[in-house]
């Protein structure tokens, strides 16, 4: 065997998953986990069944109902989206026929796919994970190679247990130093996007490294990796460490006992070797990151919350696109973002709907009231998050502040065709995308951290969450 030089984390996952080299830099890569949801997974399952192709190994395929499912309390199969229940019913029957475990509408483990898969211990370090959903990169936080695919590729993975993948280029983003108090992983993600531009990670497997990343807890790492797709990266990943292992230990579907210890031996080797080569290397100073908010219609249109709407766009934004974004958002160059009136506040989505997100938002909301005229919602990312939050009384904090407290799902992260915030309504949102009409026709979305959303809901305008600092860090 050829002696191997120093390898990156990515290479250490890629290499053992190569079933066959297809030439041209492509390989047939074994997929350890396939996740499906009712919006795109239903199509894949249906067309596979129509072609009479069986699922190769249904025991490693998992399906949830998150995108279209209603999130109002007491929900069933009917949806706000006209015709939406067809997705639920067809997904259920196709998944059951294929022998796939479904986290169904009333399942106590249901939730947003990228929230439940790490939470249930389904995603393990060193695994390959695919899902017909662009935010699959979230799961790279576990030290996995996890990427979003199309429905046709999902059919391929289901039928063959593999995918034809062109080996991506690699990028390492090392974030050194420490994030300042009141600055979160979400702010770091937006800072990186603003710096790199919407195409700045094109097709790369991005490894997040450095002291500031290692200091993040697992949920914050997921938030950071979640937004890698917003700068066109294929995926993001973070080397597994003690934080990862202690998060994983005892999770429902994680290996237990001796098997866990055996796996750990392999998992501990999953770090980039000193001298590993990357196609791109970027080093950032965490100390430069402030609470961030977006002003435009691309996640790269992000600035420090106390900045003004900038003159030029982010990198790669043409003057025409810049003008169009301003027009859509109803903003002018030089306008202050702080103080901009909002009528909607949304805490949820696979970016920021986990227990730690809800706790931090609740710290700001406790004992206070949402401003008059603001419609505020909190949608826990999974039913497990919801139960855990209720056990701590967080639901009461949200409800007493004037938030709606929902069942888990994607909800108003995107407009499915039913519920929306309304045209030209300005919403501050803990989600990941502020595209035109993302949260409803003509709705204006400002992306920010859950604490910024909470603070802004209280004042009725975009607000620096540090104004509500509690001294708890």
């Amino acid at each position: 065997m050829v002696p191997m030089g120093p390898r990156s984390l990515f290479e250490k996952i890629w290499d053992p998953h190569v079933v066959r080299d297809l030439g041209d830099g492509s390989s047939l890569i074994a997929t350890d986990r396939i996740f499906l949801h009712e919006r795109t997974g239903s199509v894949a399952l249906k067309s596979l069944a129509e072609a009479s192709r069986p699922v190769l190994d249904p025991s490693r395929v998992f399906c949830t109902m998150d995108h279209i499912v209603d999130t109002t309390p007491g929900r069933g199969d009917s949806t706000r989206m006209p015709g939406g229940s067809a997705f639920i019913l067809e997904t259920r029957s196709a998944a059951e026929a294929a022998g796939i475990r479904v986290f169904d509408v009333r399942d106590p483990l249901q939730g947003i796919v990228h929230v439940i898969s790490p939470e249930l211990g389904l995603v393990l370090p060193g695994t390959t994970v695919v899902c017909p959903d662009s935010h699959t990169c979230t799961q790279g936080a576990m030290g996995a190679f996890a990427w979003g695919i199309g429905s046709t590729e999902a059919e391929h993975a289901l039928a063959t247990g593999t995918l034809r993948v062109k080996r991506p280029r690699t990028m390492r983003i090392s974030v050194e130093g420490r994030l300042a108090p009141g600055v979160t992983a979400k702010d770091l993600a937006l800072h990186i996007l603003a710096r790199q531009g919407a195409a700045g990670g094109r097709g790369c497997a991005v490894e997040y490294a450095g002291g500031a990343v290692r200091a993040l807890d697992m949920e914050a790492r997921m938030t950071l990796c979640n937004m890698a797709t917003e700068f066109a990266a294929m995926t993001a990943l973070i080397a597994p460490d003690e934080t990862t292992f202690s998060y994983l230990r005892g999770r429902r579907y994680a290996p237990q006992g001796a098997l866990f210890e055996r796996a750990m031996v392999v998992w501990r080797s999953l770090a980039s070797d000193p001298g590993a080569r990357f196609d791109h290397e970027i080093v950032l100073d965490a100390g430069e990151v402030s609470p961030m908010v977006t002003w435009g219609t691309s996640p790269q249109h992000a600035v420090a919350i106390d900045a003004c709407v900038p003159q030029g766009g982010a990198s790669g934004t043409t003057p025409e696109a810049h003008a169009r974004a301003l027009q859509y958002m109803g903003l002018e160059v030089g306008q202050s973002l702080i103080g901009l009136p909002v009528t909607g506040a949304f805490i949820g989505s696979c970016t920021n709907s986990r227990l730690s997100d809800l706790r931090r938002a609740a710290t700001i909301l406790r004992g206070r009231k949402v401003a008059h005229g603001v419609r505020a919602l909190c949608v826990p990312g999974s039913m497990s998050v919801k139960r855990a939050a209720e056990a701590e009384g967080l639901d009461k904090v949200f409800i007493e502040a004037g938030f709606e407290w929902r069942e888990s799902g994607c909800s108003l992260c995107f407009f499915a065709g039913g519920e929306s915030f309304g045209p030209r309504e300005r919403v501050v949102s803990s989600t990941n995308r502020n595209f035109e009409s993302r949260q409803g026709p003509e709705t204006r979305t400002h992306i920010a951290s859950p604490e910024t959303v909470a603070a802004s809901a209280l004042t009725g305008c975009i607000t620096d969450p540090r104004d509500f600092a509690t001294g708890e860090g």
Binding site: A30, R60, P108, D133, I149, A199, Y253, R324, F414, E436
Partner: protein, 215 residues
């Protein structure tokens, strides 16, 4: 799948950067669990005067007479970014597009294109702009020829622009191949891989009994 070798057709310019999949097919237009019935929702937010309506907005390029029947679309950089929804490609295909020419594509979208007989052709920003202005200025020059086999876009005898496609994408487009069939030719390799992996990494293979234990 229909092979895509060479096409000569009307090209429509839509040179916005970062045209995302929500713009290509808004989620409200994806009403069924199906790959069809999507063409009328293509670019719905831009194409019609009102949300959810069907009255053509005369300002939108595809509603303008010279571009009727366009089969080639010229787009801006980072075409197809945003959600991974393959419906974007299905909608473009069902509308009739066979080629998208742009300076760059979002990776998931680009992969979806070749799997559905839609050729993603990358040309430089300058070339795309030049082709677009040629089209806008001269109604006679609306037609382009895209030859996937040769890897060339022809606008005129004096205007030839080579492009690159990786071998696999090219083969899939040219032969109209289904990737699953292609891969299942390696079934023996796949079975051998999983047989030895079960021994090497048993923790990857779930234990059904443990999974269904009560909450």
């Amino acid at each position: 799948m229909e092979p895509m070798r060479r096409i000569t057709a009307v090209a429509a310019p839509l040179l916005r950067d970062n045209i995302d999949t929500d713009a290509i097919i808004p989620s409200r237009e994806m009403k069924t669990v199906s790959k069809t019935g999507l063409a009328s929702g293509l670019f719905a937010g831009w194409r019609y005067t009102a949300i959810g309506g069907r009255e053509p907005d005369p300002g939108f390029v595809l509603n303008q007479a010279p571009y009727a029947g366009a089969r080639i679309l010229l787009g801006g950089a980072n075409f197809g970014c945003g959600s991974s929804r393959e419906h974007a490609v299905w909608a473009l295909r069902e509308y009739g597009f066979r080629v998208i020419i742009a300076p760059s594509f979002a990776p998931i979208f680009e992969g979806n294109c070749v799997r559905n007989g839609l050729a993603p052709v990358r040309l430089s920003v300058e070339t795309v702009a030049e082709l677009a202005s040629r089209i806008v200025l001269d109604p006679q020059a609306h037609r382009l020829t895209v030859d996937v086999e040769q890897g060339v876009v022809y606008a005129a005898p004096s205007s030839q622009h080579p492009f690159e496609l990786d071998g696999e994408s090219r083969a899939m487009l040219l032969e109209g191949l289904d990737a699953i069939d292609l891969t299942l030719k390696h079934r023996a390799d796949i079975d051998a891989f999983f047989a030895s992996d079960r021994v090497a990494r048993p923790w990857i293979y779930p234990d059904a009994a443990a999974m269904d234990r009560p909450l």
